[in-house]
Symmetry: C2
Subunit: 481 residues, 2 copies
């Protein structure tokens, strides 16, 4: 009988970084692999990723996107075709130089992103305007050689989906970027309960080879921003570099306009940071692998079940299972108290306790992971009450996040003020910018913050915070993951 | 307006190999990538793979299996820990020797299979009998450097799921292998409509590191066998090599018993070969991405739709879509005849034609991909008729396959007879075997066939076909993919 629960999670407020790693490990979301910087996503973490897939995939399919699979390796020569692209990725590539017993004539990159292997195929497949748009998505992993890594947030291999689309017109390609960004925003806000700011990246922060990068940025409790999803408008850069051409209805040969976009397992890191507390993980019901855990409370653990508690718990699970994601923890080797700690640490939104007294009275005790009183709920009202409680937890987490984000956006009118606000962990700092690289570099150097986004509906006003010339864009600065 | 349909598929009976490749390419299941031996699985092919995933994944989960993700790269030293395993895989490994700008101290294998990266984690996670069984599955791809390749059947990269389980007892591990084999058999027979023989491999054909390999073998129309799914009983080989130990209930420290198993995108190749014909692909309804294609027949393509044909087709698709996987081909640029050819080539089981006459009479014309008369079906009976027709096509394909398999198993009583039967494309040849490697090698050398399986319920009788000593196993020989 295991009675003592060893938590070993430091307080979130004391050492945020240690707390984060401890929660990822102890909640069994991920683990370190034998390869430096590469993580293992454990079943509980992967179930969260499957929840994200299960939400996104049908929505992408409903809008005409299809899945496919392209090789994990790509020749160096293809990676070099788009000049900006290779510049951005080459320093981070893992290179295969030997296949079986043979040294390779040309080294192959382990997929860092798939533009360079997909575009040559698009060039082959696209002949006519009738073949457009091409709307292909891959769910896979990519490898980028990182010097310093953290579970989910920055790892040498990470898991993602990557969408790569080719269009007949510029408008359609830009529209695709905006539509996917909106889909990602809905995922973040309504499923993961993480409020975000949406915007465009300044040129220095764009994807390598993009004409425009759209981004969602969330703010973590340590006041650092995290990029939570991006869509890239690639113009005709890749169309030209890879000769993806089509005969248009007007009989002219034209280059396609392309986009690429992604969200990754990094979202799981954001989820941990955004909602977790000193007892461990807190999962929004919309994404929790188990929304409800039922803990039967026997008079004596492992002993006789005179009151029919086990049976009642199983019947309850069966009944609720048609509507909610439910699990019963009927393990005999652990005490109820141990199980309470365990499932709180693993972030299950609702716990139901059922013991002899509850069986006798025809009720169960409902406990919310996010706090509040224990509540005795009569069996006949349970489904209804549970649905409501889950909605409340979901809304509560989102609301807390929204309040935190709103309270952490401040305007600044000098570089010194930016620096002070950043040092004071005040989150996003909003400033006017003349769009010169020199002014941006000054802010970066003097504050340690980077430009996170320019709002989608930006109406710049006032002066550049550095040089005083008229502002041409409003920029949100923050320290970032 | 595109009217001329260019098929360019050779006759199946004339050049099976050319026919196969042409169908894979023309039906847009797969394409050659710029990397030798690596294929691109195109959206239509991937949709079939998703159908296989969609059938297997919930069934694996219902039996306690969970998904996870382990690194795509693994250190050479780990691959070497299990002696037979490294011997089997090392010659086929793609090696990463450079990460970003740094040459690596130890080269890393691109995943050829994941035992060597998963077992060190199991060693860390498993302490007590309470931690067992571990039942983890990955859906990913593996790379094995192949000298000669064919789309789906043998490619340098292929897609699969790999299950890796660790158990407390030998019996449980063997039971897992048998249960998964049975699951695979159901997939093959009732979803893919491909009849199989189930059995064990002789030692020479086992997975590198296994004590026993269970296999499903199907017979293709060219009389060559194809391995369609395998489960491996690994005994304590990997438990000992990777020190995966647990404290049992009796307080003894013991090594775990492990299994691994997989089916791969090779199944798509088997599907093409098993059912296709001179007009292209034929897909069993249970796996077809589109079970039904609706082709509206306008009086004049692209012209006015006075009879309301387009509207009727859309309404029909909506109605049938709640029960079947339906698509409407309402493209204006192609004639109905072109579409008929196209969807037959892509193997859609049922076509529904609807023109002004059908709209007027309140019926549609139903055409089966597997042949038989065109059938006018009144609207009110359509759902029922369609369900039946799909069942008929599914059953018909399976029945054809069953008959073909049964007619292609012959007993032989001499090596000469084996050779003659194999040369005559008679499929599986059944013989008695004394279990000596010498006798097996003689058959291989003199007939070009390999031993495919020993039946699960084998009752050997008679004499070894080579040496005349008493038979200790019945072996099925065939040429194989």
């Amino acid at each position: 009988m295991v009675t003592e629960y060893v938590k070993a999670i430091p307080a979130k407020a004391e050492d945020f970084s240690e707390w984060y790693t401890a929660v990822c490990l102890r909640a069994e979301l991920a683990d370190y692999s034998p390869i430096r910087g590469m993580m293992v996503v454990r079943p509980y973490g992967w179930a969260i990723w499957e929840g994200i897939q299960g939400w996104l995939d049908p929505r992408l399919k409903a809008t005409g996107h299809v899945n496919a699979a392209f090789p994990v390796l790509m020749p160096e020569s293809l990676l070099q075709l788009e000049a900006q692209h290779v510049k951005g990725f080459a320093p981070q590539v893992a290179w295969v130089t030997q296949g079986g017993d043979e040294p390779l004539a040309e080294r192959l990159a382990v997929r860092p992103t798939s533009e360079a292997i997909m575009m040559p195929m698009y060039a082959k497949w696209v002949q006519s305007y009738r073949d457009l748009p091409v709307l292909i998505v891959q769910w896979n992993s990519v490898v980028r050689w990182e010097k310093s890594t953290r579970l989910f947030l920055r790892t040498t291999e990470f898991f993602w989906h990557e969408g790569h689309t080719a269009h007949r017109t510029e408008e359609e390609a830009v529209g695709e970027c905006r539509a996917i960004l909106e889909l990602y925003r809905e995922l973040l806000e309504s499923v993961l309960a993480i409020p975000v700011l949406a915007g465009r990246k300044p040129p220095s922060e764009r994807f390598a080879g993009a004409d425009d990068t759209y981004t969602l940025e969330a703010l973590m409790p340590d006041s650092q921003a995290i990029q939570a999803g991006t869509t890239h408008y690639l113009g005709q850069n890749f169309g030209k570099a890879f000769q993806v051409k089509f005969l248009d209805q007007d009989n002219q040969e034209k280059y396609v306009w392309t986009t690429s976009w992604a969200v990754s397992t990094r979202l799981i890191g954001a989820l941990v940071m955004a909602h977790g507390d000193d007892r461990g993980l807190v999962l929004p019901p919309a994404i929790a692998p188990h929304q409800v855990v039922i803990v039967p409370i026997q008079r004596k653990a492992g002993g006789a079940d005179a009151a029919g508690v086990g049976e009642a718990a199983a019947a309850l699970a069966k009944q609720l299972g048609t509507r909610f994601r439910v699990m019963v923890d009927d393990r005999e080797h652990y005490t109820p108290g141990w199980k309470f700690n365990e499932w709180e640490m693993r972030g299950v939104p609702i716990r139901l306790e059922i013991g002899p007294r509850e069986v006798a009275k025809g009720e169960v005790v409902l406990v919310r992971r996010t706090g509040g009183d224990k509540e005795a709920v009569p069996m006949e009202r349970l489904t209804e009450r549970l649905a409501l409680a889950l909605d409340e937890v979901q809304a509560d987490l989102h609301e807390r996040g929204r309040r935190f984000l709103n309270e952490h956006i401040t305007a600044a009118s000098s570089v010194e003020e930016i620096g002070a606000l950043i040092a004071d962990r005040r989150g996003f700092v909003r400033v006017g910018w003349c769009e010169s690289q020199e002014c941006e570099d000054q802010i970066r150097e003097r504050t340690g913050a980077s430009p996170r986004l320019i709002p989608l509906d930006d109406r710049p006003e006032g002066a550049c915070v550095v040089c005083g010339r008229p502002s041409r864009a409003t920029v949100y600065y923050a320290r970032a993951y």
